[in-house]
């Protein structure tokens, strides 16, 4: 079978991170090619390179499609050749109708005047193709997520599609919708349309894929041919996570004390849809001097759990109890949660953690202005001294504490956020993806800071999508999936019963399958 697509030696660097290194990927005509890997392995980046989101010149390597080298300057270039990507977050205009969405940017029009009859009849034909029984005039917001996904695919089909790329298409679908979607992919295959399927759900991957490429740390680990042999999920998992734990983590002798912080029977409903339960009966404890990890895939509910605890910053109808040293604490607003001794370092430092245009000094003091003021008047000298102290203590590399944080690298921005929360003298720090988008050297420094906190007797909760990081740092690991805490493992230090990446992955996948079985 000839190759439809060849990506050769793709390398893509972001300031501070090498996202892809020398990745090669081939897709044959009419095959379903699955792309799997952990969060941050580089799958989405690779697809963005392919579709022209990252234009030619911003990466190294070559893209050959339909027998010629292609240099896409943007998505429209790749779409013109029939390379259509459907993103994880749907890109539909909710108030427009199905027909309007399908032909958005590609309207059936003559001289700028839309031919509605033609639009609707073509939409009807496309909807039939994807098996969606809805009127073309229905507003998209009236459809469920599964049907919206089908609208996206119909939109792709409205263009001349040769290669369909689906990024986690089933992550928000229920079992039936997922199955229908996969059947649709198989039907397309029969019509000669090739697909790249990015998915975490290995059972789905093994069901439809002709070949599987496993990415890890921005490089291809293996390409498995499902036609040649039966590929077990265990094999895929091993390839996904099989990376040795080296000395990327600073040493620490844990000195763990009594239970400091405890959350019991924590339930959270979706902020917009009151009937959707996002966190179900979560419970966990953190001891003095302990680093507790929370593992899980994206969308498992880890951030939602943390933010709902920290001053109800997420969700509604929150129920459950939080205690500090056995005594119930009030965490109903951010201010009260802070007063109770909590600190939350967000996963999204740019939009939730920093005032980017403000200097380092102002960002560090933002959460503790009361302590550097008398009668509401700021003590500038004290604020400056504090900023200087933290600059030295957490090694923020900058031209001065008056430098605006927008100009710092990711690692240094993260240190500023950490400094802000350290300065509130919390008892419990919840760190959400503390090393996301940070290069290896700065990661090590952040790990050292976290270890220092535990040694100082604080309790640390570390949420991370990078399993090696959790294994390297944590004394205990909770595993979350679909809004529940589905398991608890001792840290990797315990060689016999301790957590391993396989154990964590298995816990997640088992609960996924159980949930699906139960749903059937």
């Amino acid at each position: 079978m000839p190759n439809l697509l060849e990506m050769r030696g793709i390398t893509k660097t972001f300031p501070g991170v090498k996202a892809l290194s020398d990745v090669s990927l081939t897709v044959r005509s009419g095959e379903i090619h699955a792309l799997v890997g952990e969060n941050g392995a580089g799958k989405s980046t690779l697809m963005k390179v392919l579709s022209g989101v990252y234009p030619h010149g911003s990466y190294q390597g070559e893209i050959w499609f339909k027998g010629a080298e292609r240099r896409f300057r943007g998505i429209s270039d790749s779409e013109e050749l029939g390379l259509i990507i459907i993103h994880q977050e749907l890109a539909l205009a909710p108030l427009l109708s199905i027909a309007e969405n399908i032909f958005l940017g590609n309207e059936v029009a003559r001289g700028g005047v839309i031919d509605w009859a033609e639009t609707f009849s073509r939409t009807g034909a496309l909807l039939k193709k994807v098996g969606l029984n809805e009127h073309p005039g229905t507003p998209v917001e009236k459809l469920g997520v599964g049907k919206q996904q089908l609208v996206e695919i119909a939109k792709a089909l409205s263009k001349k599609v040769e290669l369909l790329i689906l990024d986690e298409p089933t992550s928000s679908l229920n079992e039936n919708d997922s199955a229908a979607l996969l059947d649709l992919l198989l039907a397309f295959k029969a019509q000669g349309i090739a697909s790249i399927l990015i998915s975490h759900k290995l059972n789905e991957v093994s069901r439809v894929a002709d070949r599987i490429t496993v990415l890890r740390d921005g490089a291809v680990v293996s390409t498995l041919d499902c036609g040649a042999e039966k590929i077990s999920e265990g094999r895929i998992i091993r390839d996904m996570v099989g990376r040795p734990l080296d000395d990327r983590y600073p040493p620490r002798a844990p000195n763990i004390g009594d239970v400091l912080f405890e959350v019991r029977d924590w339930n959270v409903h979706h902020p917009d849809h009151a009937d959707v339960v996002q966190i179900k009966g979560a419970a966990f404890t953190v001891r003095k001097g302990e680093i507790v990890g929370i593992a899980g895939l994206m969308g498992a509910g880890r951030t939602e759990l943390a933010m709902s605890i920290f001053g109800r910053s997420h969700g509604q109808k929150i129920t459950g109890t939080a205690t500090m040293r056995g005594k119930p604490i009030d965490v109903s607003t951010v201010g009260r949660a802070m007063k109770a001794g909590l600190a939350y370092v967000t996963e999204d430092r740019k939009t939730l953690g920093l005032v980017l245009d403000d200097p380092i000094k102002h960002n560090i003091s933002l959460a503790s202005l009361e302590t550097i003021s008398t009668g509401g008047v700021l003590d500038d000298a004290r604020e400056t001294r504090i900023a200087h102290d933290y600059r030295a203590r957490v090694a923020i590399r900058c031209s001065g504490i008056l430098q605006e944080v927008v100009n710092l690298s990711g690692g240094n921005q993260q240190k500023v956020v950490l400094a802000k929360w350290l300065n509130t003298s919390p008892e419990i720090l919840i760190l959400d993806e503390p090393t996301r988008g940070i290069d290896v050297g700065a990661k090590y420094e952040i790990y050292a800071i976290i270890n220092g906190l535990a040694e100082a007797g604080k309790g640390v909760v570390m949420i991370s999508s990078e399993m090696p990081e959790l294994l390297g740092m944590c004394d205990r690991i909770y595993v979350m999936n679909e809004g529940r805490i589905v398991g608890e493992l001792p840290g990797a230090r315990d060689a016999q019963d301790g957590a391993t990446q396989e154990k964590i992955m298995r816990m997640i996948i088992q609960t996924k399958e159980n949930a699906h079985d139960a749903g059937r």
Binding site: T351, H362, H388
Partner: protein, 404 residues
Amino acid sequence: MTQAADIDRPRAGAAPAPLGALGYFKKNLRDYGMLLALVLIMAFFQLQTGGILLKPVNLTNLVLQNSYIIIMALGMLLVIVAGHIDLSVGSVCGFVGALAAVMMVQWGWPTPVVVVICLAAGALIGAAQGFWIAYYRIPSFIVTLAGMLVFKGLTLWLLDGKSVGPFPKGFQALSSGFIPDVFGMQGFHLTSFLLAAVTALLIVLAAVRARAAQARFGLVEEPASVFWGRNAVILVAFVYIGWLLASYRGLPNVLMVMAALIVLFTFVTTRTVIGRRIYAVGGNEKAAKLSGVKTERLVFLTFANMGMLAALAGLIFAARLNTATPKAGLGFELDVIAAVFIGGASMQGGVGKITGAVIGGFLMGVMNNGMSILGIGIDYQQVIKGLVLLAAVIFDVYNRRKAS
């Protein structure tokens, strides 16, 4: 150099060697540019009008004409820094003037009582609008657009479509009075001159002390030449303007009120917790909220404050005209908002300075005044003012884009 080797070094403004005076000036073009633009425009009109602009009587007029705009610009700066806008200030201004006229002229209530009631009414109006904006998240543009119509209508209703006046003497003094002179020199108001000179010295002294504090932490960025140059300009300007005003009738009462408010708001924005938090809310509301800042209450307070300042401006304007008219305050909001944006505030919020807004206000005022003296028609005046606003903001955006 590879990108990887460069990661942890700061990217902009990282040059360890101190910038020269010119380099520093270029980097902070926006801050100094404003002051420079004001000086240049004043010089231009001074020449064009054959020296009329800086005649003591005209300078006094300039202050009286612009005081209410600048007072409102102080509140508007906070609103805009917090990421909002208030379109109702002109109408509120007129409404409060009408309220004062009804109470003082028609009901004969004593001036001090009426002033307090009017300021409270302004604060209440601001609070009512701020309530919907802060707690119900109704866009401020819409809430205050509604407020603009409502209070324009209420002004007409209060005054029954007629002008009401004149005001008692005590109230008129708010706008047309001057501070008393203790020396009694013929033709020269020595108290005023001394006050201006002492203020100038205090400002320079404060700057020197701040710089010394910075030096202790090695944070001095501004080269000595720029620092002394800037302070020399401030000193000379204050002393010169003080001398000019002193040789007419001295410092107007309004100027004293305005100066006190400028000092107060500069202090609030730069030195207090509440000021810092307003900047944080405008800069990144979500981050501020997750840092324990009560963002809703702050937004509410900025609007209440804006309402009170609009009321004060309304009183000053009514006292100046010595009558409350249904047309009072018409279009003021546009001058106020323009002053704040010319002064370097950002539409996105989080950026802006009190000094900028004040300079922006004076810049507009000097142009109004200068163009009127030159006999330029109101039609051209509007066009020119509009273009100046546009140019200032384009300059801002261009600068910011270049920096990033």
